[in-house]
Subunit: 387 residues, 2 copies
């Protein structure tokens, strides 16, 4: 796709990127990749827009919202072009609280076993917002004529999103059309106009699904019999391999299904690694989340390598709808330090159980994979007790 | 509910239970609880009706299909009563291949750590059939008037199923009404009339969800603002606890969400434990399955405690629809025996990854729970190589 006009005369395509909050943890700047620091992660259940994690593949496209056009097309549709006002005026505004997580979140823990490829994220490639916009399914069905009959007649299997930055990704038609899928064409983030950093004027929100499918600056929505092309969908960027795969030679990457829903995740936000605890109880807090809208049913915390557990109290987010728990759940636990650990170093660890009773794997080794994706083993924080 | 008339004059309510295949592994007879033996498990992808696992709570109700009536009622509906012919003639026949698994499957492995309560199942409390019947959602929407508008207006949250044997269970309204949920009122099993053993004339099939919600001999379907009552829904029978819970005193069982979708599962069907292998490779085969229609994306096999893995070839079931992979996937792997294991005893183990990249936990200890539910740790089979 052509670079936006605003940038045509500029030698450096990143010069027009937005100003960024200095408290973010920057991994790259061109393109920008930055994570939410743990100190700010649980200040509010909805992450403030300026400290949201950033995961870009290209410069931020700059565009006047007045000039924005969204083309909806592809098999089984009658092609339509909508401007931002069309979306706002012709469809009901819908709001969905959803957490987005990069598929590479916590990759740095896998890198400690053996280097993977990709950004060495901590656990902050993850944030939550209340998104405002329109249901993609209402636009597809009521405006672009993509009825269930057409889906069947034309064998529509995927909906492809093309970003104005050059990104391209797709989701299965079932997720796009399900009355319980809650996929949005979003133009608001936490009650404000969507910032250009996060996809203005319009981005896709695919709740419960890996970040990369939530295409920002979306310009084109295409119903298709095939998945999107390119590295993020059919290529290796979001494919999960066995720990035995150390190079791609001989692997038919296109035969491996692309990642969509993510597995259950949790992390300890406080205490931080290396903390010194002086009280008789360790006050632990963190978040938990799972893909596919699966709510969190339990979080357990241990300071003795999982021999005994304290079940955490679930707080913000615990009462989300069944299989539509798109946002994280916060939790806290108070873990008594037994006599034998007083004055010693030990590790605090947590694990969550989701509504399908999926659990987190115990160790990172068996889930190590070449691309460093889906690191969701028990989260471990070494601390020291001081009498 | 009253006992069926056919049994009113009989002192022993189990006398009219059907004849059963002697090859089943019987745990109880009154009521009958029997599992599919591993020798028969992979003879065909669809389990033959006579060897299907049986999990009853009561005597098998005996009834003339002519006398069968299904009452559909509850908030947001206009009550209707349908006979079997109504179901067959007034609705399109739908077919769904689905695996059912008891929530207690593999409980015996947890009992080895510490006794749980319930039937000590091996891995055979699980079978697969092609079910024929009608979509529950089409009956609810097109015949009983349960529109999406009524669901919202009357705050319908659950659909309760009442079996003529006295069982009662419910599922969330989203699963019942989703165009991708595939919930059936089934009257056929593998192309034959549903056997009385498995719920004739009509049972519920809730694909991707724990066996107990698939109510047999269903007589009543009730739209409700509340879950079903009784031990199987609100009570402790299908609630997952932390390993620390050793007794129910002090636990508010109703506050724990009831089980629906099951986590990813797999097991080694061949070789059997104690086998002696004489070749240079161990030929391993088994099945994998996950709840919620999540397909199997990979199965790994190891003979060195997970230090190295051989990725299995997926065979029957590998090409099911996205998030509607309701039936199990068979797999096989050929694992070379390295020199250091030749002539030795070792353990073959397997683990599966589902479409949400959920994995199986490594050990049973961290998932031990009082009711012995959801045992899905890596499946382990000790064998011996003989030179
Ligand atoms: Mo990502
Ligand atoms: Mo069960």
């Amino acid at each position: 796709s052509d670079p936006p006009a605003a940038r045509a005369s500029c030698d450096c395509p990143y010069d027009s990127d937005p100003e960024r909050h200095p408290g973010l943890i920057f991994h790259n700047n061109k393109p920008c990749n930055a994570e939410l620091p743990s100190e700010l992660m649980m200040d509010s259940w909805l992450t403030p827009n300026p400290v949201w994690f950033i995961r870009h593949h290209h410069p931020v496209p700059v565009m006047d919202p007045e000039d924005y056009r969204l083309c909806i097309e592809g098999v089984g549709t009658k092609a339509v072009t909508l401007c931002l006002e069309d979306l706002k005026k012709r469809f009901l505004k819908r709001e969905v609280c959803a957490t987005l997580q990069c598929g590479g979140n916590r990759r740095s823990e896998l890198d400690q076993i053996e280097k993977t490829s990709g950004i060495p994220w901590g656990f902050g490639a993850m944030s939550t917002a209340r998104w405002g916009g329109v249901y993609l399914r209402e636009v597809l069905q009521h405006c672009a004529g993509l009825s269930h009959e057409n889906v069947e007649a034309f064998d529509v299997k995927h909906v492809i999103f093309k970003g104005m930055d050059g990104m391209e990704a797709s989701i299965p038609i079932e997720k796009a059309l399900s009355p319980y899928g809650d996929v949005l064409l979003a133009y608001e983030m936490n009650g404000e106009a969507l910032p250009s950093e996060h996809g203005a004027p319009v981005r896709v929100i695919v709740p419960g699904v890996v970040g990369v499918r939530n295409v920002k600056w979306v310009g084109r929505v295409v119903a298709s019999t095939e998945e999107a092309e390119g590295p993020w969908q059919r290529g290796l960027a979001y494919k999960g391999f066995s720990p035995m795969v150390k190079e791609l030679q001989g692997i038919d990457v296109e035969k491996i299904p692309s990642m969509h829903e993510l597995p259950v995740q949790s992390a300890i936000v406080s205490p931080k690694a290396g903390s010194i605890i002086e009280l008789d109880d360790v006050e632990v807090k963190g978040f938990a989340w799972s893909g596919g809208g699966r709510g969190i049913v339990r979080v357990d915390v241990s300071i003795d390598e999982g021999k005994t557990w304290v079940t955490a109290e679930l707080t913000n987010g615990k009462d989300q709808d069944y299989n539509r728990a798109w946002a994280w759940t916060f939790w806290e636990a108070s873990v008594p330090v037994p006599e034998e650990l007083q004055g010693k170093e030990f590790t605090v660890l947590c694990r969550a159980v989701d509504a399908a009773y999926s659990t987190q794997p115990e160790r990172p080794e068996p889930l190590w994979n070449l691309r460093g994706l889906n690191c969701n083993c028990w989260h471990r924080v070494p601390i020291r007790h001081q009498e």
